[in-house]
Symmetry: C2
Subunit: 439 residues, 2 copies
């Protein structure tokens, strides 16, 4: 007894098989998820996950903030709060956003359970089945899981070393409109992109905002990494130049710690009102305790200095990764991120990052295959390498192991095809030039 014509989730071993909503068919385990299990074995060097290096945060600073919160505001911290979040905390969030040029009113901020939940709430509010979300190709895995869970289709627009390509965006929009598709928003990670590691230039930010405005498309600006630049700050946030057409998502997961699950949305007023209602329906209120602890931390600790510390940690690791790639895989091409957590690597044409993964794990290194970051199955020639969590030494070890795996794959191909390994280098332009799957 299944509903005809509707893709079914579950299987016949599940007695509730025919009871799920149509949208449940979109909820499938991601490739990244399966990897987490593999990569958690201690002998594996994981270049796969996106865990921030929280050990660089002095734990006593957090413990002290907690103790003060419990002493001074314990009954508030333990209680339900408002669906929008604590006013003082929302004011402090404005100070964080001011570092990227954003001027806003605390009344337009909604505190959420990580910025992931802001993404979920915006999607719930806007996406009807069959709607289109435009996203960079590649894009953030779990954003696409959400879009699909609301039965929207993700349309990728290519990037190059300066981020999303405005001309390509124009063409995609025109084609989608000609096809009668309803485009709900442009989901973008303009700074230190996950997974591509590139940053949208200031000129392009303005041009893309202008394209979005002309076409009546809301921009969903996801900015988890913006403050984690290595040398120069990224251009100001898109929200800093456009108020009415941007929903901005921020988080404390990368600048403080993800264990609190604290993020926020800054939205045009009417959207903000609905986001609060959606937030209340979903969780009643965000955690009062987590909000007050972070609020106390922001009031009393040198939080900007802490972000500098994180920058130093990630800069060193990025350098370690790029040096190792130069040393062990000089024939390949990769992006050179100016901040954030990720490098996007392009393999020789004949290799398949997804098919190669089991062999890599056997060699005790893990990465995320490029296919995880595309809704349409592309990305086999790419992989995302994370430098955020492993030590510089382990990054070097991981890349060396990866080189062994890649060489082994090429040897194998050479054996069958009769050509030597790496005798046709794919792209000598290592930096600055777009690897194949970014442009």
């Amino acid at each position: 007894m299944t509903r005809q014509g509707i893709p079914q989730a579950g299987n016949n071993l599940d007695p509730w098989y025919d009871h799920y909503a149509a949208r449940a068919a979109g909820l499938r385990a991601s490739e990244v998820r399966a990897l987490f299990a593999v990569a958690s074995r201690p002998e594996v060097v994981s270049l796969a996950g996106g865990m921030p290096f929280v050990s660089a945060l002095p734990h006593d600073v957090v413990t002290d903030a907690m103790s003060r919160v419990m002493t001074e505001q314990g009954s508030v911290a333990l209680q339900y709060g408002s669906g929008q979040g604590i006013p003082v905390f929302r004011e402090q969030i404005l100070e964080v956003m001011a570092l990227e040029g954003i001027r806003a009113n605390a009344d337009d901020v909604v505190v959420t359970t990580g910025s992931q939940h802001a993404l979920e709430l915006v999607s719930k509010l806007f996406l009807d089945p069959g709607d289109i979300v435009i996203a960079e190709g590649p894009s953030y895995v779990t954003a696409m899981v959400i879009f699909k869970s609301y039965q929207a289709d993700v349309e990728h627009v290519p990037m190059d070393e300066n981020g999303l390509i405005p001309e390509a965006l124009r063409e995609h929009i025109a084609r989608l409109k000609a096809d009668g598709r309803r485009i709900k928003f442009l989901y973008t990670i303009p700074s230190f992109h996950n997974p591509a590691g590139v940053t949208l230039s200031r000129e392009r930010r303005l041009e893309i905002l202008s394209i979005a405005r002309e076409n009546d498309i809301l921009v969903l600006e996801d900015n988890p990494y913006g403050l984690l630049y290595f040398d120069q700050p990224a251009p100001d946030a898109m929200r800093s130049v456009e108020e009415d057409g941007v929903v901005y998502l921020g988080t404390f997961s990368k600048t403080l710690a993800p264990g609190f699950r604290m993020g926020w949305a800054l939205a045009p007023h009417a959207i903000r009102e609905k986001l609060v209602l959606a937030n209340e329906a979903a969780v009643l209120s965000p955690s009062s305790f987590s909000q007050l602890v972070i609020s106390e931390y922001l009031s009393t600790a040198d939080w900007k200095g802490q972000i500098d510390t994180f920058r130093g940690v990630y800069r060193e690791r990025k350098n370690a990764m790029l040096a190792a790639l130069e040393e062990f895989l000089p024939e390949l091409s990769w992006t050179d991120p100016a901040g954030g957590f990720y490098v996007w690597l392009t393999l020789p044409e004949m290799l398949d990052s997804k098919a190669m993964l089991p062999r890599a794990v056997k060699e005790l290194v893990a990465y995320t295959p490029g296919t995880a970051f595309f809704a349409d199955g592309s990305g086999r020639q790419n992989m995302r390498l994370s430098f955020c969590y492993p030590t510089p030494e382990n990054i070097r070890l991981g890349v060396r192991r990866l080189a062994t795996v890649i060489q082994g794959e090429l040897d194998l191909l050479g054996t069958f095809a009769g050509t030597g390994p790496l005798d046709s280098p794919v792209d000598g332009r290592r930096f600055g030039a777009p690897p194949p799957n970014l442009s």
Copy 2:
């Protein structure tokens, strides 16, 4: 430019007016929400909210647990976790549920951001537009907000002093099926019902499970108050006698503190798998920090003794409320809860609790009008009175003020209708007999 035939959320002042998903039309501010603002003025005795009395929890016990977590497991507490929740914590949740007769496997538990979020995730997983959720009438406000946000229709089945009436449930199901409606689940709060204050008898639990099984309807058992009985425990949870057909929702908000936003779902295995995927999409992982703090609290503190303390607090307040009702409003009828937070009061027929509210607030007392708890506009003759948060003295003061308001309304009606106040008592059966809107 609005979509024809689809109810629109927002208004013309909102430039994104025609961009919202159809489901956004269901997200409206609840009556209870507006009340929170009113009731927060210190001079108002609020019998409206459902805030637990967290001051009865020794804060140093919580602070100590936090400090130990940060010292011993800081890097885990600050980090992302798994989408299902920490295994040790899920094992401890089994111990909590065992108090209500539930035997289960920790692998079937999913930790959520309060049990509210479990409700949201189950709804996202199961509800297609036009589906039916059967719920008690009255039912929990914010559950109905979620159901409506997924475009499901809520069908109320009446209760009496022993909870949901099985015969009425049978009739409703038969009628809905005859109408070709698709019933997705029965949402029920069997113990110390919010807002009705009644408890489903053991015989009826079995009968209702049997009706659900016969009709292939999933039971969503929401049990936030089960451990907060005054004298005798409630009958064992419905999940204790039926594994395959029940999704059970639990929370630490009432037995510990809501500020952590920690709850859980216990679900049949196939449903549990999908719930984890939905949880990951929505929040990546529940807060590691909150999980570990509660886990440490459960390991080291006398958590059962603490629940006894809460029971004592709420028993005293329930007694204060019933004594005040006897003293100031002896002509009316109300439910006599055996646990939980709420009394359901029935007004004389000619009164309207919703219309009366502004006058009550003017007299410095707040309550929740019965209409908030029905999807169909009924409940005007009822109100929910909460005894969880105010002191016994304030409860008495609040009920006295409420009596003044009711008397004033009756005087006014008497002036117009020519009858004296309260000269036609509505229902002499105060306890044991069902007030009009419960049966």
